[in-house]
Symmetry: C2
Subunit: 324 residues, 2 copies
């Protein structure tokens, strides 16, 4: 098989999802895409590398689910609706079972999000996956990182730290005998982007980001873009009982503060909108974890309201970084 | 330096090119892009891997120029105008001189094509570059591979095979003592996409593709998409004197037929448009090299007009393939 046959066999099946926003699909030099009047395109690119962003020997299902979750989460953080995507896949060899799992997972994600796969690239080399995802949003309505104001509330969706717990289970080969840990594994292996929450936050949130590198690290991007500081109450960070069972109370809170890969949304909103935000028709729990302050500091308070000096710098702000 | 500092230092300089089609630049979860009314987006993704698509130890300048040339060429083949692009860069280490060359070349290409860099990804791993390029084209005007009709003329722009000659010089360490070979090296190391030619072919060409894998291989994609065959006169393939000087007459023709990376355009057009096409106001020479036929065969004729049995299959159609 050369790459054209691989593409035909795994990525251009007859049941491939498409829709009327695609004028020309993959198979030409470019895909040609329509944008409804009054809307703008949102575009983001993420690369996942074997051994860095997913474990060596991970299944095609896990690799595809993590790649798509990470990219969809960037759309969620803008309040955008999925439009379409491309996949640049580099693989060391043609492995039928891996490619079948990978392409089936892409097909399912395409269908679930009404988002056609419109092109890509296939090359031989060390396993890596680069997805470029495109979304659409009403002109001027995208949620940015730069709009947070002093005294705004700071919220997060869902629970934090579960993906870090799941990764620990994978890396340390912890068995899931009790069954209660599977939510953690699932959150790491197949993250769900908060697309509908992001959409419902347009016009409400003053700033938004997705939690990919770690809550404090990602919040700090909002603070820097908005030229503000923040005060966070550590004990308010939402932590699942599964994570507490796995790690204990303190380590679970630390994972919530600095673990990556949760793909929950962290956003700010004026206090005047508390009631509207509490009434959002979304299944996700939203938790107020602090507020925006003047200045540039990110201060973490303990249960007694005492500032934990250097907590953010020492533990939380680290997040995941390459080249360090 | 972590990846955020690398991105700031090399890719978000103050003189970075932007324009009014970009609502939100890199530095948020997504870029937000405008599309003028009545237009469609063209999107293409290409990956270049060290040791496969450019030589090991190639300079950042060569790597960037080849990545951008290949991607711009996909826009040219659609008749599209460059809009913007993202770069997913994976590098083994932070090498200042390589990154400086790479980012300077991107900046120059951005400026030359009025095309902002709007996002991307930086990760640690074996060197590879994935560019996702976006263009715009009037709705319904994109040049496709699927429109070739029986009796249409087949054209190519510029000269073919020069990049294959340049690659040979690099791989075999052939010195450029006489000076006449530098056009070959330049064509391989810094390909120029035929953007303005593509734009002027909208409404004229019935089908179009860029020559990236090799002339016969790429023409065969048009034939397959259009359900037609073709007859090509080998001696008419445009070959530069530099290439003939390097390889001799026969090998130069073979390189023109099957060498990759030229990024010239191959297109078809009705005979009735010969005069219009001859009068296109473009510096590039356009050469008629054959015509479209009924059936599905790609036949290559020698100087006496005799069909060279299996020439296309044996030599030309091969092109470059991964996994074989």
């Amino acid at each position: 098989m050369d790459e054209f046959e691989v593409i035909r066999r795994y990525f251009q099946r007859d049941n491939k999802f498409t829709n009327d926003l695609v004028s020309v699909d993959s198979g030409d030099d470019c895909a040609v895409l329509k944008l409804p009047p009054g809307e703008e395109f949102c575009v983001s690119t993420d690369t996942l590398i074997e051994g860095v962003h997913f474990p060596m020997q991970a299944s095609g299902t896990v690799a595809a689910a993590r790649a798509m979750g990470a990219n969809l989460s960037d759309l969620a953080a803008m309040g955008a609706t999925p439009h379409s995507y491309t996949v640049a896949l580099t693989i060391p060899e043609v492995n039928d079972s891996w490619l079948s799992e990978f392409s089936s997972t892409l097909a399912a994600v395409s269908q679930d999000n009404q988002m056609p796969l419109v092109g890509g690239n296939l090359a031989k080399g060390p396993l890596s996956i680069t997805v470029t995802i495109m979304g659409r949003v009403s002109a001027g309505e995208a949620l940015l990182r730069s709009g947070a104001h002093v005294d705004d509330d700071i919220y997060v969706s869902g629970c934090l730290g579960d993906a870090a717990g799941g990764l620990k289970m994978v890396l340390e080969n912890i068995e899931d005998t009790a069954g209660f840990r599977s939510p953690l594994l699932n959150r790491y292996q197949s993250p769900t982007a908060r697309i509908s929450l992001g959409q419902s936050l347009t016009g409400l949130a003053s700033a938004c980001i997705d939690v990919s590198d770690g809550f404090l690290a990602d919040l700090s991007h909002i603070l820097k873009s908005s030229s503000v500081g923040a005060c966070i109450e550590l004990e308010k960070l939402p932590v699942s009982s599964s994570l507490t069972n796995l790690l204990g109370h303190d380590a679970a809170l630390a994972a919530a503060a600095s673990g990556g890969d949760d793909y929950e949304l962290c956003f700010t909103a004026p206090k005047s909108l508390r009631k509207k935000i509490a009434n959002l028709n979304d299944d996700l729990v939203l938790t107020r974890v602090g507020h925006v302050t003047a200045g540039a500091d990110l201060i973490v308070h303990d249960a007694e309201g005492i500032a934990m000096t250097d907590y953010a710098t020492d533990a939380g702000l680290r997040g995941y970084t390459h080249f360090k």
